[in-house]
Symmetry: C2
Subunit: 193 residues, 2 copies
């Protein structure tokens, strides 16, 4: 397949769309959309968030040592985009989005009620990356949409309807169809013993 070179740049891997909630020392809540977010360890469960060091959210997390990662459903794409482009220093994001808060269990930072998956995190450390900071958080608790779970325990991914962000081309997409089961379908290619 024919390819072209793009040079070193921030390219368009599919990434999660999340809203990071944080509070200032004075207790003011801020919301910020982040897509440079991912699980990075399970010993212990750890999440990494990369953000610009000029962000109010960065200041809040360094001061309070806590944050929450709230998964954005496809139905809230416009609200998420707004929380990414405007600063909590200048606008009231809760008022302008009609998003509401709910009570966390392990930290003091409230969660986004309309998010189907909320991850409470305790800040561990930061890594400096030019103008950005990679913040590592240990996962303290997870809240997941009850109606996504069948009685069998099976989980319906479409009930979460996660919004995927394609950074390089600045587009939000939803999920289509399931293509394969992991740790299972690939075994058909393994050496026969």
């Amino acid at each position: 397949m024919s390819k072209r070179t793009l040079g070193p740049c921030v390219t368009f891997f599919p990434q999660p769309t999340t809203i990071i909630s944080s509070i200032s020392l004075a207790g003011e809540v801020n919301l910020m959309t982040a897509s440079w977010v991912g699980i990075v360890s399970k010993t212990p469960p750890t999440i990494a968030v990369s953000l610009n060091s000029g962000r109010k959210t960065y200041e809040n997390i360094l001061q309070t040592k806590e944050f929450a990662v709230n998964l954005v459903p496809a139905s809230l794409a416009v609200e998420a985009d707004y929380c990414g482009v405007r600063s909590g220093r200048e606008e009231d994001k809760l008022k302008n989005t009609n998003l509401t808060l709910e009570t966390p269990s392990q930290i003091a930072v409230p969660l986004v009620a309309e998010s189907p998956l909320n991850v409470e995190c305790r800040f561990i450390r930061e890594i400096e990356l030019g103008d950005y900071r990679l913040l590592l958080g240990e996962i303290a608790e997870i809240h997941a949409l009850d109606s996504a779970f069948a009685e069998s325990g099976d989980i319906d991914a479409k009930a979460f309807d996660p919004l995927v962000y394609l950074g390089g081309i600045r587009q939000y997409w939803d999920l289509g169809k399931k293509c394969a089961n992991a740790y299972q379908d690939g075994l058909t290619l393994a050496d026969k013993k």
Copy 2:
């Protein structure tokens, strides 16, 4: 919306499905599927990959200081799953998947030819996270599927057809439809000046 707590665990954010290519000091190529992958800075463009420290890929990257991140299209979900569950120490993944290699431009590690997007990386540093290592790589070059680009310069995300991995429930999904344009659609909610 009613929610249940899951405790601290590795939950199911949508993550990219990628195959990391690396070479040993002897020049043997290994492929390993990774989904704990993401862009973490643009000053300079930097990618982070988290993997278990027991992996052959980890050993290769520490020794040669180079790796490539190859985006997996939905059509290769089974091949990607296989490259995630089996070890390059025991099986010939290229032979069993029929994947082929192509020549890089900035590093010595070959790229996966069937991947629509290849990112050449130079290893910068590692961060220890329990049994895992977060490897940071500076992006040296990107190769992208030519046919995804319109004459106008617009990029067709569906031409890349990126495979999304939902970790907590171990499922691979493709993209559905575009929901919004980033840095644009959210402005409708901003304060009117």
